[in-house]
Symmetry: C2
DNA sequence: GTGAAAGCGCTAACAA
DNA sequence: TTGTTAGCGCTTTCAC
């Protein structure tokens, strides 16, 4: 395995010259640089990261902990983060953990063992305490979530996400504007101190503003945040509550599972039941009918997270909390409510 | 940040003693070991991986290069690989590259820069030459594909995959058994020297065995292996070839896009057009109707890949080529052909 | 059972 | 512009 020593010998220069040539230092003659680069090529030299990390005061690695990586919503964000890291000269270290996992603990471990300079967490909890995050020890960004239910000082971390409550409000408003009043909400749990609770809040407010009184029985709680649970819940739910005319789902994956349950029950979308959700995953373009959803700017979310982190790291920039907006993508799953009985 | 030097000083022992204690060497007194472990705790010492990797002849890392990571088919395999690595005392280093990327080149680079002991490639090409892979330099496993179109010596690498041709045959046979004769195939390219070409082969053989003559115009080639391309192709295709009664898709993702195109065209599944594919991604359970597909044992594929690699690495085991079988999951997308004209 | 010392590959002073 | 050299933190001979 070739090292810079081999390159140096091959070119009859010193290792430091090779190092400089390789790291784009200005004080290297064009000819020397060319010689070195040639040697790199013909000797199949690849830098040893371990050695570089060892000597450098700090690594150039950023950790990305993904909680619940089976959610296809995260895939484009992960790719955007990897690309943004690369563009800014950083290396992304990815770690996937289960949906209910301890992203903070795992993140802290990762930071230490891999000497990470910063951490991005995707899909985490909304209720960190200062104690929780004290172990992390490097700047971090909460990606797709905030600390609404926690007690973190805003200056101690960054976040990039949509405004959960406002966007949920907007989604439900779409249904209301189409005449719906019996609107169910499909979520993990109304009181998960996290994404679902936050969006439930927007749901409630939209109903209240429209003068529709809240019916607690209209919350279809899946407990687990996955398609299987959503399917089973909705299947049961629509049998129990045949009066609903619309569903707001907090995620596309769950909405798609719901659509299946609705179809199985012999009901039609959107004629019998309308459905709207938030996310805009690729698959939601291919449901029949196309899912009406509030599309999150996934690539932008990933890019922003890296941008903020790198700014904090490289320029001592201030932590920031960025709220991005979704784009309503009209599909075919929301229709006007049918007047059931005009007697 | 504490180093073993700090620990050594704190305990009044040499760094070598600390190293031994930390690495469970036998020749350390129980008392010294305890002292060291205590110091580790109170000084919050965490080993520096870079330094360890640098000095050790080999790391305990296995690389996983995923080509086309946006395909949800890979997600469960990636998770299985990560888990299997962890269980066997290895660390997985993941690297995602675009669908058309150079997995061998990237893999080789990864091996060197991260000092990987072995490599698993997911979703690669089927036509490696010995020259291509010579740069890798460590044992590797082709995961979900083989070297059918290449010239690699079977003993020089391992592979875990399904039998593409046989499974494609089986899928098409399902359609034939239901009376279909005008069967289209949805694929990347008939001659991609890779997965599509291999499955196209099984398609042809199934038709031939059933006495159905091959109609080259029945191949719907998407060029790109993604949902958008599949949708556009099928949309065009079914307008041009209204005579087809069934489609065999080489992947679930493309099948789902096809279903959308068919629905848009006002045709019904399976009454007008039947569809079957290979993969069994989670989403295929939630299409309407449920996609009939040959489910690949995704977790097993990932586990096997790691198992073989670690056996080669740790026990000098022989390279192996494992062919796993799919499971037919009957859905609602395959029906008996309708007699169009019995005149 | 323990210590001293060499060296893994690399970068960054410091010299020239 | 280039070379010499010290060390980053760790493991591992080789002595004792």
């Amino acid at each position: 395995m070739a090292t810079i020593k081999d390159i140096a010998a091959y070119c009859n220069v010193a290792v430091s010259t090779v190092s400089r040539a390789l790291n784009d230092h200005p004080d290297v003659s064009a000819e020397t640089r060319r010689k070195v680069l040639d040697a790199v090529h013909s000797l199949h030299y690849v830098p040893n990261n371990a050695a570089r990390d060892l000597v450098l005061p700090q690594s150039d690695s950023i950790g990305l902990v993904v909680r619940g990586a089976e959610n296809p919503f995260f895939t484009p964000i992960i790719r955007a983060v990897e690309k943004a890291c690369e563009d800014l000269g950083y290396t992304m270290v990815l770690h996937q953990i289960p949906a209910g996992g301890d992203e903070v603990g795992e993140g802290a471990r990762l930071v230490q063992s891999k000497r990470l300079r910063g951490l991005i967490m995707l899909g985490g909890r909304y209720d960190y305490t200062s104690d929780d995050v004290s172990a992390i020890g490097v700047p971090f960004v909460c990606c797709t979530y905030t600390n609404h239910f926690g007690d973190l000082d805003a200056g101690s971390f960054s976040s990039v996400s949509i405004d959960d409550k406002a966007e949920a409000y907007r989604a439900v408003k779409q249904l209301i504007d189409n005449g719906h009043t019996k609107i169910a909400i499909l979520l993990d749990s109304k009181t998960d101190r996290s994404i679902s609770e936050r969006r439930f809040c927007g749901y409630c407010e939209a109903l209240a503003d429209a003068g529709i009184s809240l019916d607690e029985g209209l919350a279809c709680e899946t407990v687990e945040f996955n398609m299987g649970a959503a399917f089973a819940c909705v299947e049961r739910f629509i049998a129990e509550r045949p009066d609903i005319t619309a569903i707001f789902s907090v995620a596309d994956t769950m909405a798609i599972a719901a659509m299946k349950a609705i179809a199985n029950a012999g009901r039609t979308i959107p004629d019998d039941i309308s459905i709207i959700s938030i996310d805009g995953i690729e698959m939601s373009l291919y449901t029949v009918p196309t899912l009406t959803t509030l599309v999150q700017p996934k690539a932008l979310i990933g890019e922003k997270a890296v941008e903020i982190l790198v700014d904090v790291l490289d320029n001592g920039g201030k932590t920031r909390h960025v709220r991005l907006e979704t784009t309503l993508r009209p599909g075919g799953t929301v229709g006007r409510v049918h007047s059931v009985d005009l007697a």
